[in-house]
Every structure is written in structure tokens, then in C-alpha cells.
């Protein structure tokens, strides 16, 4: 498939950046990941089959690059064990979301462990089916369903109410 890089960055840029932010909770890192993802696309453009494949490829590479950041020595050294536990800092929220405060549900999702956070994001925000999310994350569909269910329970516990996602 022919890749027009400018159109691709404009079409999928927000999706890549949002996923990187949800994964890393760090705008500077998310922007670095953003650039690396599209550079990697240029290096591997011949393996992209069609638009649908391009989208899932971009998501997979964004997740992998975010994971590399979260497990990097520098990140472990500066943030403890891989990621900030909570998004409480108002300045961080302003930088990440361009707003003063977040809804309780967003805050609760961002405070979840990464594996639940990315599953919830891909399923509820990007609108993929459980089969598609499982393929993207390299998991069994039943494992993924289980993670989504646990994720909902965690949210219920945190928010103190039944979660109607």
C-alpha cells in the first residue's frame, strides 16, 4: 500500500498521541513515541497491506514503544517501578489534557495498571471488538474479556458505583 506520510500523520496522529499519553501519562514521552512510531512506519511501509492494517500496526507499535519507555532503566530510576501511580498533579493534567480537571472516571482509568488501561482504551475509546483488541495486544480473546471484566470491577471499587461503560 502506498503511504503518504503527511496524510497518515494527520489522519492517525491524534490516535497515536492519545494512546501514548494513556500509556505513559507523560506528554514529553508521548511526543517522542509519536515521532518514533511514524519513523518506524517509513522503515516498514512495504509491510502495510491496507488502511485497516495500517491502523492496527500503528496501535501495536505505539503500545510497544510505550512499553519500552515504561520498562526503561531511566524511567524506573526516575519514577520507581515503571509509571506514576496517580495523576494528581494539576499541572500534569493541564499539560496532558489541556483542561483544569479530569472526570472521576478518566482519573480512575488512568490510575489502573497498564494492562487494564490499554485494554479499556482500545475497547471503549477506539471501539475495537474484543477479538480485535486481543489480536492487537497479542492475547487470547478470553484473557482479554477477563481483563476488561476485572478492569470494570476495579473501576466500580474505585468509583463506588456500578460502572455502566
Amino acid at each position: 500500500m502506498e503511504i503518504d506520510i503527511e496524510n497518515t500523520v494527520r489522519s492517525y496522529g491524534d490516535m497515536v498521541l492519545r494512546l501514548a499519553v494513556v500509556n505513559t501519562k507523560n506528554m514529553a514521552e508521548a511526543e517522542d513515541i509519536f515521532q518514533e512510531v511514524f519513523l518506524q512506519l517509513i522503515r516498514n511501509k512495504e509491510c502495510i497491506r491496507d488502511q485497516e492494517h495500517l491502523k492496527s500496526w500503528l496501535i501495536r507499535v505505539t503500545i510497544n514503544k510505550s512499553r519500552s519507555y515504561l520498562t526503561s532503566f531511566w524511567n524506573k530510576f526516575t519514577q520507581g517501578f515503571g509509571e506514576a501511580e496517580e495523576v494528581e498533579d494539576e499541572e500534569a493534567i493541564r499539560v496532558l489534557f489541556s483542561k483544569e480537571s479530569l472526570s472521576d472516571v478518566t482519573r480512575a482509568i488512568l490510575e489502573m495498571p497498564l494492562k487494564y488501561r490499554k485494554a479499556i482504551h482500545l475497547y471503549y475509546y477506539e471501539g475495537f471488538s474484543t477479538k480485535e483488541v486481543a489480536d492487537i495486544l497479542g492475547k487470547n480473546e478470553s484473557t482479554l474479556r477477563c481483563e476488561l471484566s476485572r478492569g470494570r470491577k476495579m473501576l466500580e471499587k474505585k468509583l463506588g458505583e456500578a460502572v455502566a461503560l
Binding site: 491524534d14 511526543e31 517509513i42 510497544n64 483542561k99 472526570s103 471503549y124 487470547n140
Partner: protein
């Protein structure tokens, strides 16, 4: 409830500056790739022979300096890694790839990957391929992907060996041996069941000699 999350997330936008910077870098990378591709085409036969000779000399030097660190490992963690277990491939096969297609995919240019083991089967799930080889007292599973992470977390943290000038993580669990690393654009995770360490080292060396 999810609407609130969607609303918050939709406030995140790639800035025009970030888009332009990325497009500029991507175009430079495209140019660089075209340029280096053209350069290779322009190389004459003599230059290629000279380069090949140089590679052989360099490889010979490196070969002597190979360091093998085989880490003892207690099981393989497969969190986030699909069907990585040796010989326990799942039934959700979506595609199969022939030996030739696989070798072309990893850039072997018609060479056989292992001299002492024959290609048996491949299983491709999404962007990850698992390739099984079988020889006399040897079973090998080679898991490769250009986009997915195929190396289990506990292997990623192991000390690296240097073989054929390439960094690779080696591990052992009973009679199962593991090797994990990266090629120019792939990540690989190899599981070998064989008689002894010597045989494992030979197989990995063979693999690394051929890996781009």
C-alpha cells in the same frame, strides 16, 4: 460514564508543530533510505567482493571474541506474549507461511536457517510468526515479529552475550535453552530443546551468522 472519558481524551491533540516536525523527519528518513538503496545498486562487483571479504575478516575476528553467558532461568513468563511456549502452539492459526516465504521474510536470501534441523511448520498469528524446526534430538521454535514484542519479560532482563558481533540473551531451564534478541527490523525469541549446551551454542551461532 464512558462519555466523560471520551470527552477528556478528545482534548488531547497532536500539535501542528509536532506534526510538521514528524513529517519532516519522516521525509528525511525516506530520502536517506532511497539514497542508501541507490548507493548499493551503484556498487560494482569488485566493490561487493571487497565488502564481502571485509565482512568475512571482521566476522572471523569477532568469532574469536564471542562471549556466551547462559543465564539459568526458572520458567518463561509469557505475559503479553502469545503462544511463546515451546511446542504448545495454539489452535488459532490464521495463516501459514512456507519455509521459503519465512526465509525471505527474515532476509535469508534462499539460505537454510539451520543445517542440522529441518523446517516443520509455521504458525502466523497477526504480525507474529512461530516457526518450528526438527532435527536429530533437536526441536527448535523460532518466534519472530517485525512489530510485536516476542521476548518474555524475564528474558529481557538477562545479561547479554555477544556472538557473531550481535548482542543476544541466552538462558537455560533444564534441557530447554532460550535465545532472544533483535535483528535490523525484527525481534526474535528462540526456544531449543537439545542434548547439550554445545549443540545449543552451535545452533544460535548458525542463526546469528545468517540474521541480518
Amino acid at each position: 460514564m464512558i462519555e466523560e472519558y471520551v470527552k477528556d481524551i478528545e482534548n488531547i491533540h497532536a500539535s501542528e508543530a509536532l506534526i510538521l516536525k514528524t513529517v519532516q523527519r519522516a521525509k528525511q528518513e525516506e530520502k536517506r533510505q532511497k539514497h542508501s538503496g541507490a548507493k548499493i545498486v551503484r556498487l560494482g562487483g569488485a566493490a561487493i567482493a571487497a565488502a564481502a571479504a571485509a565482512i568475512i575478516i571482521v566476522n572471523f575476528g569477532i568469532m574469536d571474541r564471542s562471549t556466551y553467558i547462559i543465564n539459568e532461568i526458572d520458567g518463561i513468563e509469557t505475559e503479553g506474549v502469545r503462544s511463546s511456549g515451546l511446542f504448545k502452539l495454539k489452535d488459532d492459526t490464521e495463516n501459514e507461511m512456507s519455509e521459503e516465504e519465512f526465509e525471505e521474510y527474515i532476509g535469508l536470501d534462499g539460505e537454510k536457517l539451520f543445517e542440522s534441523a529441518d523446517f516443520e511448520k509455521s504458525i502466523i498469528v497477526g504480525e507474529t510468526g512461530t516457526y518450528l524446526y526438527e532435527g536429530d534430538g533437536i526441536d527448535i521454535s523460532v518466534k519472530i515479529s517485525k512489530t510485536d514484542e516476542v521476548i518474555p519479560d524475564n528474558v529481557r532482563e538477562l545479561k547479554k552475550s555477544e556472538i557473531e558481533g550481535k548482542k543476544v540473551r541466552l538462558a537455560k531451564d533444564g534441557n530447554k535453552y532460550y535465545a532472544a534478541g533483535e535483528g535490523s527490523d525484527i525481534e526474535y525469541f528462540i526456544t531449543v530443546r537439545c542434548e547439550d549446551e554445545k549443540q545449543f551454542k552451535k545452533l544460535i551461532k548458525e542463526f546469528l551468522q545468517k540474521l541480518k
